[in-house]
């Protein structure tokens, strides 16, 4: 069981955040564009210079190497990027069952990245991330570019992962698309790089 605790975390140009997300719970992050949603996730993953501490279970971010930390807090950016030509070369072991749930045959690993549509990239990026078996999830608009069917697939995969791994999760989105099925949900609204309102039933 790993809860995610954020202590006085201050992303660049933002005010500081303090909150915790218990194991298996989801914090929905909403707010207009430019309100700092992505910056918050990037700072939790330690991608921008920031201040404060993040604790996952009994692991303090400041005490583990950064690349190790980023494996633990699986961050899925809104737009995925690929550095090899072949899809399969981006991860050592791909979870085939998960690829199937996302609507891919195993031969997708032979596909060339250049051929992928935006939606395919987005779904494959999720599989690529979950292959690392992160203990927490930081998802930035994971269903934004997907049609209803594929959005449903992604929700299903994320929901199943969270249920079996009991992972705390941040879910950034504009609306609450289908996340109502998640069991333990808190909400946070951002505005001007700071918290406008928080409704966290667990605190």
């Amino acid at each position: 069981m790993f809860r995610l605790e954020i202590q006085h975390l201050q992303p660049p140009g933002s005010s500081s955040y303090s909150l915790r997300v218990p194991s298996g719970c989801t914090c929905l992050v909403q707010g207009p564009s430019g309100s700092g949603k992505t910056l918050l996730l990037r700072s939790i993953a330690d991608l921008d210079p920031n201040r404060g501490e993040v604790i996952l279970g009994d692991i303090r971010r400041s005490e583990v190497p950064a690349h190790h930390w980023r494996r633990l807090v699986g961050y899925l950016p809104a737009e995925s990027h690929w550095w090899e030509d072949r899809v399969g070369d981006h991860q050592q072991k791909w979870p085939l069952d998960l690829l199937a749930t996302l609507g891919f045959e195993p031969d997708v690993l032979e596909w060339s990245v250049a051929r992928l549509s935006t939606g395919e990239r987005q779904r494959l990026a999720l599989a690529r991330l979950l292959a690392n078996e992160p203990r927490a999830l930081l998802l930035d608009e994971p269903v934004a570019n997907l049609d209803a069917d594929n959005a449903e697939r992604v929700l299903q995969v994320v929901h199943r992962y969270q249920t079996t791994q009991h992972s705390p999760m941040f879910w950034v989105s504009h609306g609450s698309e289908g996340t109502d099925t998640f069991s333990c949900i808190g909400r946070m609204w951002l505005r001007h790089n700071g918290v406008e309102r928080m409704e966290l039933p667990w605190s």
């Binding site: 210079p49 190790h68 980023r70 550095w83």
Partner: protein, 264 residues
Amino acid sequence: MELIPLSALDLAIAAALVGLLALLSWLLHLRVGRRLLISAARSTVQLLLLGLVLKTLFAQTSLPLLGLMALVMLAVAGYEVMARQQRRFRGPWGYGLGTLSMFLSSFTITLVALTVVIQVKPWYQPQYLIPLLGMLLGNTMSGIAIALDNLTRTAWEQRERIEARLILGHSWQQAIEGARRDALRSGLIPIINAMTTAGIVSLPGMMTGQILAGSPPMEAAKYQLMILLLIAAGTGLGSMAAVWGGSRRLFDERERLRLDRLKG
């Protein structure tokens, strides 16, 4: 065989050819004439000055004076490396990285060449030291400038890809490895090309000079070969040091890609 001395008139004829070229460029609107004339004037002044300086240095063989000369050469080469960067590092790194890498490679290799290979006595005899150091600095300068420029430009252009790897938990070394490899390769390509065509397509400058001065061609060839090999080693080591230091500087202690350390 004696070297035939060149008179001012001889040089004027050569200069007139460049003047003709500048005139052509002006007539054809190539807009390169001005730069051509300025660089020709610069090399005239610089080479004549060098001749004067070397004359004094050769007469004295004084280590402090030679050291000063070497430092001036290094300082100018360091500035050149920096000026050739499209996106150089901010602060002291912009100048320091290339200069330090050149210092490490050129000075060490020159020292090895003087003491172990040629075995000059004393090792700082200016007739050997200055030309050797000059050729090494000149070539490592190009190699390092190309390699560093390539590294920072690639990092800038591929920042999303590099970050995608960091996000997935790759170390900074893994995330930059592709850019690093390309940068090193690009820095080494000029010297590889030079070695490939040496003696067939191009007659290298040093050998030409020695032959003109009356050295036996075989001796000239051996010297040229030694210089080429030393240059290859110096450029390789210098580029490696610069690319390693540069790629380290692109990330901070938390392995974040810090492109804000580059000048946009």
